[in-house]
C-alpha cells in the first residue's frame, strides 16, 4: 500500500472479487477470455470432428445405410457450421485475445467487459445451435443454407431457425470483437510500437478485424431477412411471393469469401511469428508481408461470385470475378516466398510448433493452386459442388487454418498456460495429423474429378469412387488418433507444474518479455518499444530487458463482472422464444437483456488497483 502515490490514495475503491469457477465466469481479463475461447473451440471441435467421422463411415461403401439421408444432411451441415463458426474463428480469436495485447504491450483490450460479452455470446450461441438436437431438427441445408431449400416451405422444422438465430447471436459477439480489437490495436500500443513495428500476428489480427467489420453485416442482414421470412411470413426469399433466390447467395458470399480470409489471415500471422523464431532469422520482407495481408483483404471483397459460377450469371460477370480471384494468388504467393526466404540461410530448429508451421507451407500451396484452378470459371463448372471443391477448401481450412492454429497452440501454450507441451507426444501428434490429413483429403480431388458431387448421402457402385472414399475414411481415423494424442498431451501437460520460463523459444515479440503465464496486468511497467522484434532486439543488441515507458506503481485494472454472461444468457433465452414462436418468452427475455445492458451502461466501474512486485512480471 505504501507504494500507492498520494494522488491515488483517495480513489482506491473496493471491488468485488470472485474465486473458483466464478473468477472465470466474471473475468474481463483478455488472457482468461482467450483461454476460454480456445477451450470452447476445442470442445466444439470434438463435435465437428465426430460429425465428420460419421460422414466418412457412411461413405465407406456404396449404398450404405449407417445413417439416414436426413441425418446425413444434418451431419455435414453441422460439421461445416461448427468448424467455421465455432472452431476456426473462435480458436483464432482466442489466440488474438491471449496474445495481441501482450504483443503490443497493452494492459488489456480497449473494452474488457464487451470482450467478455463477445465470448459468452459465442459460447451460448454455439450451445444454442447444438440444442436444436433436443428439438428434433438440426440445420440441414448445408453451411451456406441456400434458399429456397432453407425456406419455411421446404424446411418446415425448427433446424433452420436455430441456424438463423444462433448465427446472429454468435455474429454479434464476433462484430464486437472486431470493434474491440480495432480500437485496441490502433489506440493501445505501447510507446514506440509504430504500426510498422507491430508483430505480423498483430498485423494479421488488425486486418482480420477490419474484414469482420465489413463482412459480418451482409450475413447478418441475410439472417434477419430469413428470420422475417420464416417467423413472420415475409417474402424476401419466397420465389412465389416475388422473392429472389440469388439475393441470399450474393449476400452470403459477400460475407462468405472474406470469411475464408478471416480464418486464414491470423494463421498467416502465426506462421510469420513462428518461422523467424525457429529459423533464428528475421522475417524476410516484413513490409511486403503487411502489405500482402492488406491487399488480400481488399481483394477478398471482390471475388464472391466465384462461388456462384454455376448460377448462369453470364460471361461478363464470370470473367471479371475469375480474374479478380486469380489475382489473390499474387499477394498470397508473396507470403509463401517470403517464408521460404526466411528459412533460407537460417538455423532451423524442428520443434513441434515449427513442424506445424512448416507443414502449413506445402499444404497451403496445394490449397492455393487448386484455388487458382477453381478460379477458371469455365473449368470450374466441372469442379463446382464436386468433391474437388471439398478437397480444395479442406487444404485451405485444415491444411492452412487448423495447422496454423495447432502451430500456435504448441508455440503459445507456455505463454498461455505456463507449461511447455511434451515434444515427443507433439511429434507423434504432428505426423499422424499430417499423414491423416493428406490421406483423407487428397483423394477427394480425384473422386471429385471422377464426378462425385459433394453432399450426397450415398453413391452406387461402379463409378470408381468406392476405393477413394475408403482411403479417405481410413485417413480420417488416422487423423482421429493424431488428435487424441494432442488431447492427451494437452491434459497431461496441464497436470504438470507450471514451470515454463518467460521466454522458452528465444522469442522475438513482446509477449515473451513477461512471465509465463503473464501476470494479470501483463507488464509491471508498460514497455518502451525501440524497434521491430522489440524483445529480440533488446536481447541481442541491448541488455536483455525491455526498457520501461513509465515509472513503477499501482496498476488500474477493470473490475470483474457477471453482467456479460448474464446478457448473453438471456439473449439466448430470447432466441428460444423466437424458435418456439413465442412472443411472450422472446419479448420477456429481450427486455431482460436490454435491462441488463442498460444497467451495465449506467453503472460506474471504478476498477481497482494492483501493485506489481518490482521486477515481477518481466524477464
Amino acid at each position: 500500500m505504501a507504494a500507492i502515490p498520494e494522488r491515488l490514495a483517495g480513489i482506491h475503491h473496493e471491488t468485488r472479487t470472485y474465486t473458483g469457477i466464478w473468477s472465470w465466469l466474471a473475468s474481463v481479463d483478455h488472457k482468461k477470455i482467450g483461454i476460454m475461447y480456445i477451450v470452447s473451440a476445442l470442445f466444439f471441435m470434438a463435435f465437428g470432428g465426430a460429425e465428420a467421422l460419421i460422414v466418412r463411415l457412411q461413405l465407406w461403401q456404396p449404398n450404405n445405410h449407417l445413417v439416414s439421408a436426413e441425418t446425413f444432411n444434418q451431419l455435414f451441415t453441422m460439421h461445416g457450421v461448427t468448424m467455421i463458426f465455432l472452431v476456426a474463428m473462435p480458436i483464432l480469436i482466442g489466440f488474438i485475445n491471449a496474445i495481441v495485447p501482450l504483443q503490443i504491450g497493452a494492459r488489456d483490450v480497449a473494452f474488457p467487459r464487451m470482450n467478455a460479452l463477445s465470448l459468452w455470446l459465442f459460447v451460448f450461441g454455439g450451445l444454442f445451435l447444438y440444442s436444436s438436437f433436443l428439438f428434433g431438427s438440426m440445420p440441414d441445408a448445408g453451411w451456406f443454407n441456400y434458399v429456397p431449400l432453407s425456406g419455411a416451405h421446404y424446411s418446415p422444422g425448427v433446424g433452420i431457425d436455430f441456424y438463423d438465430i444462433g448465427l446472429q447471436i454468435t455474429g454479434i459477439g464476433t462484430l464486437m470483437t472486431a470493434i474491440n480489437f480495432l480500437v485496441t490495436i490502433l489506440n493501445m500500443r505501447a510507446p514506440g510500437m509504430r504500426l510498422l513495428r507491430m508483430p505480423l500476428f498483430t498485423w494479421s489480427a488488425l486486418i482480420t478485424m477490419l474484414l469482420i467489420l465489413f463482412a459480418f453485416p451482409p450475413i447478418t442482414v441475410n439472417l434477419i431477412l430469413q428470420m422475417f421470412d420464416r417467423l413472420f411470413g415475409a417474402n424476401f426469399f419466397n420465389i412465389a411471393g416475388g422473392g429472389n433466390a440469388l439475393l441470399w447467395q450474393n449476400l452470403f458470399w459477400i460475407f462468405g469469401h472474406p470469411e475464408v480470409y478471416i480464418v486464414i489471415l491470423p494463421a498467416f500471422g502465426i506462421i510469420s511469428e513462428i518461422v523467424p523464431v525457429f529459423a533464428k532469422k528475421v522475417l524476410f520482407g516484413y513490409e511486403s508481408m503487411a502489405m500482402a495481408l492488406s491487399i488480400i483483404a481488399f481483394l477478398s471483397f471482390m471475388v464472391w461470385t466465384h462461388h456462384m459460377f454455376a448460377d448462369g450469371l453470364g460471361p461478363v460477370v464470370n470473367s471479371i470475378f475469375a480474374i479478380t480471384s486469380m489475382l489473390i494468388a499474387v499477394p498470397t504467393g508473396i507470403k509463401i516466398f517470403n517464408w521460404l526466404a526466411t528459412l533460407w540461410g537460417g538455423r532451423i530448429h524442428f520443434k513441434t510448433a515449427m513442424m506445424y508451421a512448416l507443414s502449413f507451407i506445402p499444404l497451403f500451396v496445394i490449397g492455393g493452386v487448386s484455388g487458382v484452378m477453381l478460379a477458371m470459371a469455365p473449368a470450374d463448372l466441372q469442379y463446382n459442388d464436386s468433391y474437388f471443391v471439398v478437397a480444395h477448401f479442406h487444404y485451405v481450412l485444415f491444411g492452412g487454418t487448423l495447422m496454423g492454429a495447432l502451430a500456435g497452440l504448441y508455440y503459445w501454450f507456455p505463454k498461455i498456460w505456463g507449461r511447455v507441451l511434451n515434444e515427443t507426444l507433439g511429434k507423434w501428434n504432428f505426423w499422424l495429423v499430417f499423414i491423416g490429413f493428406n490421406v483423407t483429403f487428397f483423394p477427394m480431388h480425384i473422386v471429385g474429378l471422377e464426378g462425385m458431387p459433394r453432399r450426397i448421402a450415398t453413391y452406387s457402385a461402379g463409378y470408381g469412387w468406392t476405393i477413394w472414399n475408403q482411403v479417405s475414411t481410413v485417413g480420417a481415423f488416422i487423423l482421429l488418433v493424431g488428435m487424441l494424442i494432442l488431447l492427451y498431451n494437452l491434459i497431461t501437460t496441464f497436470m504438470r507444474k507450471a514451470d515454463a520460463p518467460g521466454d522458452p523459444w528465444d522469442g522475438r515479440a513482446l509477449e515473451w518479455a513477461t512471465s509465463s503465464p503473464a501476470p494479470e496486468y501483463n507488464f509491471a511497467q508498460t514497455p518502451l518499444v525501440r524497434a521491430r522484434d522489440a524483445f529480440w532486439v533488446e536481447k541481442y543488441e541491448g541488455d536483455g530487458t525491455v526498457p520501461a515507458a513509465e515509472p513503477a506503481g499501482p496498476i488500474h485494472m477493470p473490475s470483474p463482472s457477471l453482467a456479460p454472461i448474464g446478457i448473453a444468457f438471456t439473449l439466448v433465452l430470447a432466441g428460444y422464444g423466437a424458435v418456439l414462436h413465442s412472443a411472450v418468452i422472446g419479448g420477456f427475455f429481450l427486455l431482460v437483456t436490454f435491462w441488463q445492458i442498460g444497467r451495465s451502461l449506467v453503472a460506474e466501474d471504478h476498477g481497482y488497483h494492483v501493485t506489481p512486485q518490482i521486477g515481477g512480471g518481466s524477464q
Binding site: 529459423a279 532469422k281 460471361p315 453413391y459
Partner: protein
C-alpha cells in the same frame, strides 16, 4: 546441387506415373470429367491439364526450395552465433510478384475465351427444356409435345441447348462426360449447351444440395444417331398402350384411381402433372431417378414404399396390397 538434380530425376517420373494412375488408371470413368465425349467437356479438361501443369510446376519449385532449405539449413550442434539476418531483397520480391502475374495471364486468356464460348448459346442449337423437381428430372422437347423424365435423348454431334428451370428448390444439372454443370434456379432461366460426339449412355446427377433425396436425383443422357433419335421422338409423339391380360387391365384401372392425378401416360387419358411422365416407361434403364434398375421386381419394391427407396420422395406410401402392386407392375410393363 547434385542432390537436387538427383531428386528431380527420381520425383518427376514418379509424379507423372502417379498422376496417370491416380487420374485415369483405375478404369472406371462412368461419370468422370476426365473422360470427355464432347467439345465442352474436352475444353474444360484442356483447361484442367493446362492449369494443373502450371500449378504442379509452381508446387514442385516451392517444395524443392522448401525441402532443400529444411535439410541444408537445419540447426547443427556446431552452429555458433546467429545466421546472417536478411531483411529483404527488392529484386527477388519484384520477381516473385511479376512471375505469378505472367503465369496468371496464361490462365486468364482461356478462362475469358471459354467463359464467352460456353456462355453464348449457338443460335441453331436444338432446345430441350429441363425442369428440376425434388427429386427427379423432367425433360420437355419444345414444339413436339414430348415430355419424358430422368432419361434425356439427344442426337449425336448436335449442339443441344438445355434450358434449365426449377419447380421447387435449386438443383444442378451435371453430366461430367459432356461438360460442366449449371444450376436450375427457381425464378430464373439458365442455358447450358452441350454436345456429344459419341453415342451411348452418359450419366449425370444433381450437384446442388436439394433435400433428403439429393443423392438419389440421377439421370442418364442417351446419345443416339439422328435416325434413332428421330424414331424415338416419333414414337413418343404417337404412343400406343395395349392392355390385354386381366391383370394388366386391373392395373390400369387402379392407375386411373390412385396414380393418374400425378402421372401422365401418353396414349391414355391419364394426364397428371405432379410426378414424372411415364410414357414409354419401359424404354428407360432405371426408375426413381436412377435409384433402381428398371425391373419388375424393383418396380414392385418402389410401389411398395417409395420414400423407403428414395429418401424424401414426394410420392407417398400408398399402402398397396401385393395383388395391387402386381397388377400395377403388369400394367406399367406394357408401356413400351
Amino acid at each position: 546441387m547434385r542432390w537436387k538434380q538427383r531428386g528431380f530425376r527420381v520425383t518427376l517420373p514418379l509424379l507423372a506415373v502417379g498422376a496417370a494412375v491416380l487420374l485415369s488408371g483405375c478404369g472406371v470413368s462412368k461419370q468422370s470429367a476426365l473422360a470427355p465425349v464432347g467439345p465442352v467437356a474436352r475444353a474444360q479438361l484442356g483447361m484442367f491439364w493446362e492449369s494443373l501443369a502450371i500449378m504442379t510446376g509452381i508446387f514442385v519449385i516451392v517444395v524443392a526450395v522448401f525441402l532443400y532449405s529444411l535439410i541444408r539449413f537445419r540447426a547443427r550442434k556446431t552452429d555458433t552465433g546467429l545466421p546472417k539476418q536478411v531483411h529483404g531483397n527488392t529484386t527477388l520480391e519484384i520477381a516473385w510478384t511479376i512471375i505469378p502475374i505472367v503465369l496468371l495471364v496464361f490462365l486468364a486468356i482461356p478462362t475469358v475465351h471459354y467463359a464467352y464460348a460456353f456462355g453464348d448459346v449457338p443460335p441453331n442449337a436444338m432446345k430441350v427444356d429441363v425442369v428440376g423437381h425434388q427429386f427427379w428430372w423432367e425433360f420437355d422437347y419444345p414444339g413436339s409435345g414430348v415430355t419424358t423424365a430422368n432419361q434425356v435423348h439427344i442426337p449425336v454431334n448436335t449442339k443441344v441447348d438445355f434450358v434449365l428451370t426449377s419447380a421447387d428448390v435449386i438443383h444442378s444439372f451435371w453430366v461430367p462426360r459432356l461438360g460442366g454443370k449449371t444450376d436450375l434456379i427457381p425464378g430464373r432461366v439458365n442455358n447450358l449447351w452441350l454436345e456429344s460426339n459419341q453415342t451411348g449412355t452418359f450419366y449425370g446427377q444433381c450437384a446442388q444440395l436439394c433435400g433428403a433425396g439429393h443423392a438419389y436425383m440421377k439421370f442418364t443422357v442417351l446419345v443416339q444417331t439422328q435416325a434413332a433419335y428421330d424414331a424415338w421422338l416419333q414414337s413418343m409423339q404417337h404412343p400406343t398402350v395395349s392392355v390385354t391380360t386381366p391383370l394388366e387391365q386391373a392395373g390400369m384401372k387402379l392407375f386411373s384411381q390412385d396414380c393418374a392425378t400425378c402421372h401422365t401416360i401418353g396414349g391414355t387419358a391419364f394426364n397428371g402433372k405432379v410426378g414424372p411422365n411415364l410414357t414409354e416407361l419401359m424404354q428407360r434403364p432405371t426408375i426413381a431417378a436412377g435409384t433402381l434398375t428398371n425391373t419388375p421386381a424393383n418396380l414392385a419394391q418402389w410401389l411398395h414404399n417409395p420414400p423407403a427407396v428414395k429418401p424424401g420422395a414426394l410420392m407417398p406410401n400408398l399402402h398397396l396390397s401385393q395383388t395391387q402392386i402386381q397388377s400395377l407392375v403388369a400394367f406399367l410393363e406394357t408401356l413400351k
